[in-house]
């Protein structure tokens, strides 16, 4: 257990300069709020220290009453999971691409942008990955305001 908490602490101390909030939702997890402007530097700091690997990018719609989306970057090292949480406005949902640092993030970023409508600035490939070619532009299925009529009623 001490080894696990040490692993988490290593990541947290590396990311402290960029973290707006730090939370520990479970014994094996740390959840850090990071500003959009700091994201690339924070990811690159973790990556350059060889701390774990990027396991997934999750996009979240915070609800109909909220004007925000969250983008979660999950990094895993052994049992430890460190999440960087970036908040963006629904109307101006733009995050920078982390592909220059971690090329394998490309699939995750493509999924994020087509499902949640988050523009990933500078991502090498913006072609659709999962949704059909005739899916209407500007309709994002994982947004909470999505209704099936948006695709059927074309």
């Amino acid at each position: 257990m001490t080894e696990l908490s040490q692993t988490i602490q290593t990541a947290v101390s590396l990311l402290t300069p960029y973290a707006q909030t730090v939370d520990y939702p479970a014994t094996n997890r740390a959840d850090l709020g990071v500003g959009v402007a700091d994201l690339v530097t924070a990811v690159s700091t973790l990556h350059e220290s060889n701390w774990g690997y990027l396991a997934a990018i999750t996009g979240l719609d915070c609800g109909l009453e909220s004007s925000e989306l969250e983008v979660l970057y999950h990094f895993c090292a052994g049992a430890a999971v460190v999440t960087m949480r970036v908040k963006v406005g629904k109307e101006t949902a733009v995050v920078p691409s982390i592909c220059p640092i971690i090329p394998s993030a490309s699939f995750f970023e493509r999924e994020l942008s087509e499902m949640l409508g988050v523009t990933v600035a500078g991502t090498p490939n913006t072609a659709r990955l999962f949704l059909p070619d005739n899916w209407p532009a500007g309709v994002y299925p994982l947004r909470k305001d999505f209704q099936p009529e948006m695709i059927n009623g074309r």
Binding site: A26, R29, L54, T58, H74, V81, S106, L131, L142
Partner: protein, 428 residues
């Protein structure tokens, strides 16, 4: 001659592969740019089997989602359900009883066995080694029968419940499993020998699709694909879940990083699975199978659940807003991580190596139910596997009798009448 070579190099073609049957029976579309025989660029388009399941979870309750998520994949169905149950239990602040956790692990290892044997057959088929394909799938029936005896189903075993499992293991079943494992162990040893010694097969695997440990790490690959390149990435070892602390496994590694190593790792992993299943059967913890009470509404919060599917790390992110339906279920399957390696590893190789490199990551494709329900008006009749097998035997015996197969006639013999049952409601 020189002019020909020159022309070949100057011309670039794009070879589209898929979406139907891109080497495997699963839809996916690849575009390989080739110069002569050599691939110079590759791209992929997925989504042909996209069913909107993540969105679907938002309109179903916690229990309904268990059954839907189990159907994401027909091969690794149990592990999806396990990842989901462990995540929801974590959010609810409960833990399934030890006996349930051990049964979860046992079914997961049986599932890995059937998945790896299925893959062995499929990979052998891609290499044109049809005999190995047939034998591997014949032997896979042993583990399918075990799964059916345990849970009543060959796929979508539905062994999990939120807070436990549905099925116990009886003494009779345990001895049947032991027998099956003995047989499979002997066969797996034989297959390991075949894939490392058959000179023709080795030409298709040795030194092909090589991925170094550094590349594997950079590409973010997971599971056996990573372990064949010497990268220890196994959730069962790194972050033990279910009963993996009580019944641990040793990760299987290889250093070569080529296709042969991926065969060796998956086959050697089977011995680990057989070993751990035997240990679980011998030391199954006593007690309940399921929690007395599992809340219908799950406390608000976020959980991350990671498990080792046959193809590698399966990652679930689950968020609850305190109601009886989840706010978000994010599923990141191992194939998405491993797909990037196909695009990288095929570049610089011959086009002919593409199917083998693709199959080398064991991309996840749905397997089918053999269940057959006859619909005659309102009547339903269930056919047992044995009866279905007998119909198959009778069918072909009749065909041989009519001189159609192996006969001297040049014109095709008329097909014997199809049994009426095969015309309706069959899921092939």
């Amino acid at each position: 001659m020189h002019t020909n070579e020159h022309t070949q190099k100057a011309e670039t073609f794009i070879v589209p592969i898929g979406p139907q049957h891109p080497a495997l029976r699963e839809p996916g579309h690849f575009e390989f740019t080739i110069e002569g025989e050599i691939v110079t660029a590759a791209s992929v388009r997925l989504g042909y089997a996209h069913r909107g399941i993540e969105k679907g979870t938002e309109s179903r309750n916690w229990v309904q989602n268990l059954y839907m998520l189990e159907r994401i994949c027909g091969i690794c169905s149990h592990i999806h359900a396990t990842a989901y149950c462990l995540g929801v239990e974590q959010l609810a602040g409960v833990e399934a009883p030890p006996r349930a956790q051990a049964i979860r692990e046992m079914v997961a290892e049986l599932e890995r066995t059937h998945s790896h044997l299925l893959w062995l057959g499929e990979a052998a088929h891609e290499a044109g080694f049809e005999t190995l394909f047939m034998y591997a799938w014949r032997d896979r029936e042993t583990v399918m029968d075990i799964l059916e005896a345990l849970t009543g189903n060959r796929v979508n075993y539905s062994a999990n419940l939120l807070g436990g499992v549905k099925y116990d293991v009886t003494g009779e079943q345990a001895s049947k499993i032991e027998q099956g494992l003995d047989y499979l162990e002997e066969r797996t040893r034989h297959y390991l020998d075949v894939v490392t010694s058959d000179p023709v097969f080795i030409q298709r695997t040795r030194g092909i699709g090589v991925m170094t440990a550094v590349q594997a790490d950079r590409l973010g690959v997971v599971g056996p694909t990573a372990r064949a390149s010497g990268v220890v990435r196994d959730v069962r070892v790194e972050a033990p879940y279910a009963a993996y602390t009580a019944f641990p496994i040793t990760p299987v590694l290889a250093q070569a990083g080529d296709l042969e190593a991926r065969f060796v790792v998956r086959l050697r992993e089977l011995f680990e699975s057989y070993g751990v299943i035997r240990r679980i059967l011998a030391n199954l913890p006593p007690g309940e199978l399921v929690l007395k009470r599992m809340p219908r509404r799950i406390k608000a919060g976020e959980a991350i659940s990671r498990v080792e599917a046959p193809r590698g790390e399966l990652f679930y992110f689950i968020r609850s807003n305190g109601s009886d339906t989840p706010d978000r279920v994010k599923v990141r399957t191992p194939t998405l991580c491993n797909m990037a390696s196909v695009l990288t590893l095929t570049v610089g190789r011959h086009l002919a190596d593409v199917p083998m490199i693709l199959v080398g990551i064991d991309p996840c494709f749905s397997c089918n139910d053999r269940g057959l329900v006859l619909k005659r008006g309102a009547d339903h009749e269930h056919w047992t596997w044995d009866r279905l097998r007998q119909i198959g035997l009778d069918y072909y015996a009749g065909e041989r009798g009519s001189g159609g197969v192996g006969g001297t006639s040049i014109s095709p013999a008329p097909l014997p009448p199809c049994p009426p049952a095969l015309l309706t409601g069959m899921h092939v």
